[in-house]
């Protein structure tokens, strides 16, 4: 009898049930999407923060002092210590290699520009920086590519007019083509396609580089070019590493030498900027890795602010959808006092009537919850794709949690209405004085 009443109730009042079901579906969908976005936003914003550039720099341990003013290096080019280019792919072998977005080696050298037009200018000193643009590398079986296009996303290559064009492109990493900083280009009167004589080599200019920093006055070339100029193959002055990190806390700043083995393991296995720096020093011999505080220190604050904000907004969304679901349920039940009166007049107890309503609510919540979860997953994916250009994945573990929340909220929303419906005098209900 009990299942039949429930079944008939759904069959005969399909429209009303549909309305309540839609309310539950929408509420659950919003809740699911918001929870998915809020759990993933940290990672997404962390990746966006990488557009501020590298947060770690690796230098030789015994490096001499940089003497650099306004982007011009006054230090003799062969002076000081170097890192070995062959060690760089090992960065992919660190514990947190999945968190390392990219790295770029840098080798600045001071060069004299050659060519007939410089006889009067007595051949100016210019800094030429060698780096990876987007170099394909392998570590073990792992193939990847890295370079300034990943770690320095604000670097723009153009034909000198600020607009991107197919004629002016990033040079290939194995070519003798270079990028000319836009202010240097203006000073020299060069344009893309021209050649430039640097220390007796003819290099082709493939584009103008705009960075808003010292590189605007420099020449940027594939790493092999300055290595050949100073005659030190494999030499790298410093490496910029861009890594996804966790905001710093009390544990992060402790000195690993003073930790107990247990604390050390926890520190080592957390993606703090300090522990990643420590691991970089482990894999690159004779190196010193340090956080670039301007980038590393600030991203923690920005990240925690945005995460906190999204958490609070998610609570607001959960609250609003809980309210919407309970309002819809209360309305649906309130309308059916006549039925309650009839059932009670036929001898049904309060318990039976409540059980009947709760069974209906449970069914609605389950159906609405499943539909809402799928809709919410789609919504989250849509948000991820349109805002962050990447997937927001939904943890399957969320499904039972969302379903439980849906059932709980539906019950809570129905409870007050069911109590009132049950307490209503059957005589009034049957007389139609609801």
């Amino acid at each position: 009898m009990f299942p039949r009443i429930v079944y008939e109730s759904f069959r005969r009042q399909a429209r009303r049930k549909l309305l309540a079901g839609i309310a539950i579906t929408l509420g659950v969908a919003v809740a699911t999407a918001m929870i998915a976005v809020a759990t993933d936003i940290g990672d997404k914003i962390n990746r966006e923060l990488r557009s501020y550039g590298a947060n770690l720099v690796v230098t030789p341990q015994e490096d001499t002092l940089d003497v650099e003013v306004g982007g011009v290096n006054l230090k003799p080019p062969s002076d000081g210590a170097f890192l070995n280019e062959a060690d760089l792919p090992k960065i992919r072998g660190t514990f947190w290699h999945h968190n390392i977005v990219g790295f770029s080696p840098m080798l600045p050298v001071t060069v004299k520009l050659g060519g007939s037009q410089f006889s009067a200018l007595s051949s100016p000193d210019v800094t030429l920086v060698g780096t990876y643009f987007n170099k394909a590398l392998t570590f073990g079986k792992d193939e990847f590519s890295t370079g300034v296009r990943i770690t320095h996303p604000w670097w723009k290559v153009s034909c000198g007019d600020g607009k991107e064009s197919p004629n002016c492109t990033w040079p290939a990493d194995d070519s003798q083509n270079v990028l000319l900083g836009e202010r240097l280009a203006a000073k020299l009167g060069k344009k893309p396609g021209d050649t430039i004589e640097v220390s007796g080599r003819q290099l082709t200019i493939s584009g103008m580089l705009t960075t808003g920093a010292a590189e605007d006055d420099q020449i940027v070339a594939p790493l092999a070019v300055p290595q050949q100029i100073i005659g030190k193959p494999g030499a790298v002055r410093r490496v910029y590493v861009s890594a996804l990190t966790k905001p710093q806390d009390a544990l992060a700043v402790r000195d690993p030498k003073t930790m107990t083995p247990e604390v050390y393991d926890r520190w080592y296995c957390s993606p703090y900027v300090q522990s990643i720096a420590y691991q970089l020093q482990e894999v690159i011999p004779h190196s010193h890795a340090e956080q670039i505080r301007q980038v590393a220190q600030n991203e923690g604050t920005v990240l925690s602010r945005i995460k906190g904000l999204m958490l609070l907004v998610t609570f607001a969304a959960l609250f609003a959808s809980a309210l919407a679901v309970s309002a819809a349920m209360a309305t649906a039940i309130f309308e059916r006092r006549v039925e309650v009166g009839l059932m009670k007049a036929l001898g049904a107890g309060n318990l039976t009537v409540s059980a009947f309503f709760f069974a209906e609510a449970l069914l609605l919540a389950l159906v609405g919850g499943i539909a809402g979860f799928s809709a919410g997953a789609l919504l989250a994916r849509q948000i991820g794709r349109s805002i962050f250009n990447s997937q927001i994945s939904i943890e399957p573990v969320l499904f039972p949690i969302i379903l439980a929340i849906a059932v709980f909220v539906t019950f809570a929303g129905s409870a007050a209405a069911i109590r009132r419906a049950v307490k209503f005098d059957p005589v009034f209900a049957l007389r139609g004085e609801g």
Binding site: G70, K75, Q294, M310
Partner: protein
């Protein structure tokens, strides 16, 4: 007035009592009285509808307030990244002596502008090192990320970069031994005040107070780093104005900072916008569900009014006025609660109060009334097709 009476428990009042009470009450139009009595006699249902309205308006207000204010809040967080505009004198010249004052007149005195002057000096044993003259108080405000063990607070004290320390401080006596630097034959005695650590170029430099630096080297500032406030377009126009008042210098945006900020801010704003839309829609749905139930529940009032000969316009007007009144009251109360919620979120998350935006009130009000009207009109449309007699018979 019988119609409102019939559906309530206190319908058992005698006609005389009712007449007395009615004559004692101030005279208002029949329409107004119907509205008032409907609200008073069905206060439980009216209260629950009003509550839904208030909650929805509060949530909507809080979200709109946050959406507008969070961008300003985040922008001030982004200013911790330091300068976003840099002014560089052309080719080895130095900037005019009043450059900082000029920058401040253009951008207002709450803008941070920090001068830097550079020179390459030699230590006693002939090592080259870059020495920078700056205003410590300003640099400290601009560059929050500088890790400094002790800021200079006495004359002839210098801030030593971590790497530069190896050149000027002998390993034998690491405590604050004064050291000498020579620039073009002029020698200065400096005492190390503290160590500076940034992980970037600053680590291999020595920082001095600007006036001491200028007395020693005669070199005036060649660079000013500016933290310009405001949106991207405001910063853009600041750059333009700066270029006009300082014609001898290059004014450049720091692309690394500007683009990073624009990127993160845009994504955050879009996410917040999507979430706010979802939350506002859900709360509108909540109001819709509650109000439809409320109006539907009063189909007997509707039937009696029609049975007594009320015109369609009057009945519709009555329900619409009721819904509108509910929307207005709910919007006003909800608005103030929402502002409170936004202020609380601002304090908890950003440790700064969110300024109440009264400009969102018209939107909240219009939205509330619109949702209330829609939820009143939908059930009336359904009821209109039904004969009053059928409703009154209780079917």
């Amino acid at each position: 007035m019988k119609m409102t009476m019939s559906s309530t428990p206190d319908a058992l009042l005698t006609p005389k009592k009712v007449a007395d009470r009615r004559s004692a009450s101030p005279h208002i139009s029949m329409f107004g009285r119907m509205l008032l009595r409907a609200a008073v006699l069905r206060r439980r249902r009216a209260a629950s509808a009003l509550l839904a309205m208030i909650v929805a308006a509060a949530v909507a207000t809080a979200m709109m307030n946050l959406y507008v204010d969070v961008q300003a809040k985040l922008r001030s967080e982004f200013r911790n990244y330091g300068a976003n505009v840099v002014i560089v004198a052309r080719d080895g010249q130095s900037l005019p002596a009043d450059a900082i004052a000029r920058v401040e007149t253009v951008l207002g005195s709450n803008t941070l502008a920090v001068p830097f002057a550079y020179a390459v000096a030699r230590t006693k044993d002939g090592q080259s090192v870059v020495v920078v003259g700056t205003d410590f108080a300003r640099a400290r405000q601009l560059n929050h990320w500088w890790k400094v063990s002790h800021w200079p607070d006495a004359p002839n004290q210098a801030l030593i970069g971590m790497r530069a320390a190896s050149v000027v401080i002998s390993r034998a006596s690491p405590d604050r031994q004064p050291f000498e630097l020579t620039f073009r034959g002029n020698t200065i005695q400096l005492a190390p005040a503290g160590m500076l650590q940034t992980g970037a170029g600053e680590d291999s430099r020595i920082y001095l107070d600007q006036s001491e630096f200028q007395n020693w080297t005669g070199v005036a500032p060649s660079t000013i780093e500016v933290a310009a406030n405001g949106t991207a377009t405001e910063v853009e126009s600041s750059i333009h104005e700066l270029a006009q008042i300082l014609p001898t210098a290059d004014v450049r945006p720091v692309r690394q900072i500007m683009e990073g900020e624009a990127n993160v801010l845009n994504k955050t704003r879009a996410t917040l916008y999507a979430s706010a839309t979802l939350v506002v829609l859900t709360s509108a749905l909540c109001v819709l569900a509650t109000l439809i139930g409320w109006v539907f529940d009063r189909r007997r009032d509707f039937a009696i009014m029609k049975a007594l000969g009320a015109s369609e316009r009057l009945v519709n007007g009555f329900f619409a006025a009721e819904a509108a009144a509910l929307g207005v009251v709910g919007a006003i109360v909800g608005f103030f609660i929402g502002i409170g919620v936004a202020a609380w979120i601002g304090r908890v998350n950003f440790h700064a109060p969110v300024v109440p935006r009264f400009s969102v009130f018209p939107y909240v009000l219009a939205g509330s009334v619109a949702v209330a009207l829609i939820s009143a009109i939908l059930p009336i449309e359904l009821l209109r097709r039904v004969q009053p007699a059928i409703i009154l018979r209780g079917e």
